[in-house]
Structure formats: structure tokens, C-alpha cells
């Protein structure tokens, strides 16, 4: 393969990896908004928390895989606490007040993270099993990045099967269209909300673990990612998983191909897309979302 086309192939693949990561992060936001109608500003901070926890666990035990299993559970437990003590008391208040509250939570979580781990960046090594590179048709690409794409696809499929094919998934989907009716039918919706919020937070933690070996883990990790996740959330139509998949893959490509063509301004493109969608198609590019009345 000649140098030029190799460059473009790697850009497209990098876009796929970025998109998959964004998809995993935004899944959590999407589920939480879809069911609880909460835009969780603290999501990026939980993602960063996940990355830091992964850094510590791999440094102590040398087991990346242990971190991959353990961290989502820990972050989900943090999510349970947040839902119980901060989100639930806000149920009678407006969506926008809850958004402001989660912004305050983001400040707190970021600062606690900094308190525990300090400001110095951490590095998480790529797990040994995946540290090599794969060569396909004479084109070489790091194995770990391919693993991310595969894992993302698997998780998306699992989430889809969970929501569409299991009883609990059916209840969750029902609650997302009308929580009151679901409650009347004898489902404990407040427990359901807690579970969904914890699931969303767990996904944030998981994304943090997966992203950690690709970058240095630093204090601004959460602030850097949250706005991108919001872009994907909006483009996908707030609350739609299918929309999130498409939007994340699109944003990944826009970022990476944009970076190759207009270098520094590529993030402007995604923000312009976000603004345009909010104005013209508030229910997302594919018209799947829950945002229709502006509230």
C-alpha cells in the first residue's frame, strides 16, 4: 500500500476508534437521559474517575483485565450514591435545575479525583496480550485499537439485546415512554431509576478504563470529553441508543478526517453540527430522540 492511501486508511480507522470510544461514553448519557430525563454533566468526571482507578489497579496488580471488570462496578456504586442522594430529591424540579446540580457534582468529583491522585498524569500500559500490531492486507494497525472497536461493537449488541429481548429491558423501555404508567402497573420505578443511573455510570467507568491506555490519564480528562459526548448525545437524538451509535461513528470520522483536512478547526465542525441539529432536528439526525418540546 502506498504511503498516501495508508495515511487515509489509518485516519479512517482512528476515526472508528475515536467514534467507538465516544459511543461507549455516550451510551451512559443516553440511557440516563432516555429513562430519567437527566442530562448528566458529571458523566465525564466519572469517566475520568474510571481511568484513574484503572491506573491504580494496573499499577498495583499488573492486571488490566481485573481493572476492566472491577472499575465499572465501583463507578456504578458511586452512581447509586449519586442517584439516591442527589438526583432523586430533584425529581419534582425542572430538568434544567437537575442539569445544574450535576454540573456541581462534576466539580466535586473532579476535585476529589485530584485530591486522591494529584495533578501528575498517569500512564496505563496496553495489556500485554494486545500490545502487538495486526497486519491486514499489508496494512499494520495496533491490536489494542482493533480490540476497542470489537469490544464496542459487542457491548452495543449486548445492550441492544438487553433492552429488546429481556423482561427488564422491556420494563426500562416502557418506563422511558411513561414512567407513571409503569409504576401503576406495580413496578418499583425508583429502584429502576437507580439501576439505570448506575448502569449509565458503570458505562462511563468502563469507557474510562478502555480509553486509559490510549492517552495519558490527567485531571482534565473529564472536562475534555464531556462536551464531545454532549455533541454525540444531541446528534443521536437525546435518548436514542441507535442514534447514538450512528452519531458517535459520524463524529469520530469528522474529528479524524477533519483533523487531516482542516487540522485545528475540526472540533468547530462538530459543534456546528450540534447547533444545527438542535435548531433544525431537535430529535437528532435520525429523528429518534426524546427531545421534542424543548424541555
Amino acid at each position: 500500500m502506498d504511503v498516501d492511501s495508508a495515511f487515509w486508511v489509518s485516519q479512517v480507522l482512528n476515526g472508528l476508534v475515536t467514534g467507538t470510544l465516544l459511543m461507549l461514553i455516550t451510551f451512559g448519557l443516553t440511557i440516563i437521559f432516555g429513562i430519567l430525563l437527566v442530562v448528566n454533566f458529571a458523566h465525564g468526571s466519572l469517566y475520568a474517575l474510571g481511568a484513574y482507578l484503572a491506573a491504580t489497579i494496573t499499577a498495583v496488580t499488573q492486571h488490566f483485565w481485573l481493572a476492566l471488570v472491577l472499575v465499572p462496578i465501583v463507578v456504578a456504586v458511586v452512581g447509586v450514591l449519586i442517584e439516591r442522594f442527589a438526583i432523586r430529591p430533584m425529581r419534582q424540579r425542572t430538568v434544567i435545575m437537575t442539569l445544574l446540580l450535576t454540573f456541581g457534582l462534576a466539580l466535586i468529583i473532579d476535585e476529589v479525583t485530584r485530591l486522591i491522585w494529584g495533578a501528575a498524569p498517569r500512564a496505563v500500559p496496553v495489556p500485554e496480550l494486545l500490545s502487538g500490531a495486526a497486519t491486514i492486507f499489508g496494512f499494520t494497525y495496533p491490536l489494542y485499537r482493533l480490540f476497542i472497536v470489537a469490544l464496542g461493537a459487542a457491548l452495543a449488541l449486548l445492550l441492544y439485546l438487553f433492552l429488546e429481548k429481556t423482561d427488564l429491558g422491556t420494563v426500562i423501555r416502557a418506563a422511558s415512554s411513561d414512567a407513571e404508567i409503569v409504576q401503576v402497573m406495580g413496578i418499583n420505578t425508583s429502584l429502576l431509576f437507580t439501576c439505570v443511573f448506575a448502569l449509565g455510570c458503570g458505562l462511563a467507568g468502563l469507557s474510562g478504563v478502555i480509553a486509559a491506555p490510549l492517552q495519558t490519564v490527567g485531571p482534565s480528562m473529564g472536562t475534555d470529553i464531556i462536551v464531545d459526548a454532549f455533541v454525540v448525545l444531541v446528534l443521536g437524538g437525546l435518548g436514542s441508543l441507535r442514534g447514538t451509535v450512528m452519531a458517535a461513528l459520524l463524529v469520530g470520522q469528522v474529528r479524524m478526517l477533519g483533523a487531516a483536512v482542516i487540522s485545528e478547526y475540526s472540533s468547530v465542525l462538530t459543534f456546528v453540527l450540534m447547533a444545527g441539529v438542535l435548531l433544525v432536528r431537535p430529535r437528532g439526525l435520525l429523528n429518534l430522540g426524546r427531545l421534542d418540546d424543548g424541555h
Binding site: I96, L100, G104, E111, L278, L279, G294
Partner: protein, 334 residues
Amino acid sequence: MMGIKTVAIETMSARLQSMVAWLVRYRRYCLAAAVIVLALLPLFGLQKYYVRLVMEMLTYGLWAISLDIMIGFTGLVSFGHAAFFGLGVYSTAILITKTGVSLLPALLGGVALSLVAAVLIGIVIVRLSGIAFALLTLASSMILFTVFWRWSALTGGDDGMSVPRPDLKLPGLSLNMQADTSVYWFVLAMVLLGIYLAQRVVNSPAGAALVAIRENQARAECVGYNIFRYKLLAFTISGTLAGMAGSLYVIFQGFASPDLLHWSSSGQVLIMTILGGVGTLYGPFIGAGLIVLLQDKLSSLTEHWMLPLGLIFVLVIRFLPKGLLGMVRLGSQR
């Protein structure tokens, strides 16, 4: 135990209420006294550091008041208010460094540009409300942030830009502003002018219409108010005053940095406004003063000053949604 506690709280709140009632009755005198104290402040031999700190409180205060016009009086919560502050900062900074204008044109340029930007952005986005509006303001401010951050030929990019302080030149008069005390009076006068304008808007018939829209948009529409026009008016005034605050900020601070446009900066001013009390106009000014002071005091004690700030913010949202001044006003009306 509970009983004693309740009684203690009730006596305290009764005392607070009578104090507030007194403040409300004599508010004109209190206001006048506050202005006189602020004006005389540099004469007390205040250290240069504290003169700057007070100027920071004043400009952030005006910024928070401008946000209150949007949140408190129109019901639009913006997560991108840093955009207009930053536009004021950068247009004044660029005017001064590239054209060498004097103080007033530099300020006017900043105000004018943020006014134009507020009208243009407002026409597009005030049709939305709630979450969509918040996310849209976030997106539009991040567009501006990226442009100012990356356009290093004009703005110095990540490094920011140093801005020399120009003299105040009027026909037949030139005042040197290099001393912090001289620029202090200028900043104070302009901030008071801004607050006066905000006060006039809020107390005008248009201000009453804005509150009507906030309380019940459908009803206001039925009564015959043009919702879009009033919201655009509020958005424009809010953005212009924020730009004015930004211009004044860069004039005394002498430094412009793209961080001022970042969404976390919008978050800061939201905290100030909500802490002080949305819809009270003076509350956000007090909120801004408190936060600047708190940051100054706490950051000398610990580098983790965001933690108490975040905790306070969450507690205010949870338990005092009307903010400090809003709570006090409610108390005095009972």
C-alpha cells in the same frame, strides 16, 4: 434536642428577617452607602492586590447580573454566557493591541461587538428553551472558544495576549490610567452604569413582560406579547452587558486568555448567579463577590478550593434554589 434546635433556628431566622426588613426599608441609603464605600476604597491605602480583587468582583458582578437578566427574568438558562464576556475581552484586547485606541473607544468597541454578536446569535437560538437552549448556548460558545483558541495569529492562542492599558482620552483631556487606583474609578463608574442600565430594563414595562413570559409563556402569548421579540431583547441586553463586563475585565487585568471563553467559565458565572439568587438582580452581584473572595481566600489555603465551591453550589441548588438573596427576600415578605 430537636425542639431546642428548632427554636434556635427560628429565633435566628426571625432576627435575620427583621434585619432584612430594615435593609429593605432603607435600601436606598444602604445602596448609596455601598457606592460611597466602594468609591472611597482606594483612598484607604488598600494594597494593589486588593484593588485588583475588588475590580474582579465588580466586573464578575456585572457579568453575573447580565446572566440574571436571561435566567431570572426570562427563564432561559445559558451554559455559554462566557461567549459574550470573552467577545468583550478579545475585541477590546485586539482593538488596543492592533490599533492603539484610547480607553473609551476600546470599551465601546467591545460593547458594540458583543451587542452585534448577541443579536445575531439570539435571532437563531432564542426560539428554543430548556435543555435545548442550554445545550445550544454551550455549542455556540464552544465554537467561539475554539476559534479564539486556535486563531493564534490574532489572539496569541493558548499563550493568551498581553494588553497594555491605554489612557483615557476625551476632547481636551487626557488621563493616565497606569495606576490601578485610577483605573479602579473608571471600572467602578462603568460597572455602576451597567447595573443602572440593567435595573432600568428590569423595572421597565418590557421587564414586566419578560417576567410574564418566564412565569407562563402561553399566557403571555395569548395576552398578545411577541415572545420572540422580548426574548431576543433580553438575550441582547444580557449579552451586551456581559461583553461590557469582559471589556472592563481585560482593561484592568491587562491579559486575555482563551480559558475565559471555555464552558467551565460559563459554569463559574452560573454558580455566582444561582448562589446569589436568580431573579433578584443584586443577588448575583453579591454572589460574584462572595465567590471571588472565597476563591481568593481558599486558594491561598488549599489548591483544592473547587471542592468546597462545588459542595456549596450543590447544596444551594438542592436546598436554596432561590439563592441567598432570594431566600432573604422570601423571609422578609412573610
